[in-house]
Symmetry: C2
Subunit: 235 residues, 2 copies
């Protein structure tokens, strides 16, 4: 089988810097982790917060620290650094090849969508962003990596998209339509959610928005591991 991960990001209209940070890092015992944080507010201040959080987490994951402990550490570090005055949402999505499981770590009120083939469920139990309180705990879910699995995580740019114009984006419904229609790639799912959101906001994203999609596909004979980045540059 093959694990395919796609990340698509836009920044808030007319800002220089996205307040979201997403990085992907190899796990020292096999597999990869995606770490996504959204810093409170927008612009440079938010970017500082989200990159502080993501750097803390990837450095711990690279040392072999388990995901839940890394999320707790990032929360305590942000709380200590900014005295509980600044929050960030944090998601970790780890394909752990030591246990052949997917570990989903949430400190983000936005739900996580999990589909097995076309059957979607939603992780939406209450959980808090990090940085505001001592002892904030993540919500952690562990599921087997098996063919047909799709997982979607996103920042609040998706949950807020279109609310301004009275047409809230229903990510669950979008994903359901795409899965019913065929075999979309991870990139197609991520782009559709993102492009639908800015469209609702009339081409000017109202917020920094990031979408991460992971799919497990049946490819058997590929031996090449691939990674790509497409980075638009404004003149």
């Amino acid at each position: 089988m093959e694990i395919k991960i796609a990340v698509s990001k836009v920044k808030k209209y007319a800002t220089r810097t996205s307040g979201d940070t997403v990085e992907i890092i190899e796990r020292p015992n096999g597999g990869v982790s995606v770490v996504m944080a959204d810093g409170q507010s927008s612009g440079r201040g938010a970017k500082w917060v989200s990159s502080f959080v993501v750097r803390k987490v990837i450095s711990l994951l690279a040392d072999g620290v388990r995901d839940g402990a890394a999320a707790r550490a990032a929360s305590d570090a942000l709380f200590t650094e900014r005295n509980g005055r600044v929050s960030a949402t944090l998601n970790l999505l780890s394909a752990d090849l030591q246990t052949n499981t997917l570990v989903i770590t949430r400190n983000n009120p936005a739900p996580v969508l999990i589909a097995q083939d076309e059957e979607i469920s939603c992780l939406d139990e209450d959980c808090k962003p990090i940085g505001l309180y001592r002892g904030t705990r993540p919500s952690i879910t562990q599921i087997d990596l098996s063919v047909g699995l799709t997982v979607v995580i996103y920042t609040d740019g998706i949950t807020h998209a279109g609310k301004r114009v009275g047409q809230p984006l229903d990510a669950f419904e979008c994903l359901q339509v795409m899965l019913n229609d065929g075999e979309p790639t991870a990139q197609e799912i991520a782009d559709s959610l993102l492009e639908y959101a800015p469209t609702l906001d009339q081409g000017r994203p109202a917020d920094d928005t990031s979408v991460v999609v992971l799919r497990v596909t049946p490819e058997e004979n590929n031996i090449i591991r691939r990674m790509t980045i497409d980075l638009p540059v404004r003149p």
Copy 2:
């Protein structure tokens, strides 16, 4: 314009772990850096070395440290950690949006190919791997980011490929053919070099091999930043 980066990796036939490590990280002042290291020998020992080196470099880059200083620090850290007994090759490829330049840092005897449109040149001045001596310096080249630029870096799996069967892979020639034939994507170039190398070695890669390709393309209106990973999983 848009910067497109593709990484393709295979591991040596019948080993569990690649001794190469490649990570991509966002630069704190804008842009991205690719960090590629190849640890001496193969298997777990080599993996330890290459991930030690890459982690050191990405943590410094994330702090805003310039590329050359990060490479020197990684060399000194490896020298200190292993008493000069273990070496690694190291390449950094940074699209620096603060200066709109591409910064190429080499501690790798393998050359770097640079093409402007179809005109290829080769960075092959003498430079040493890191970790064996105090004070090892990288070779650094800085060029303007402009449409039509292609840069290819690779580990010695490419330079050694096919030597066993008397058909050494000529990466320069391969790239020239691809650029003359049309507009290959970064991914197509990386895959061609990699697939050609394992083919020469009869489908059983004789070494861990990694290829990184960066292209600057003329797209103007894309606002979505994208990142993908395809990770083959053996049962």
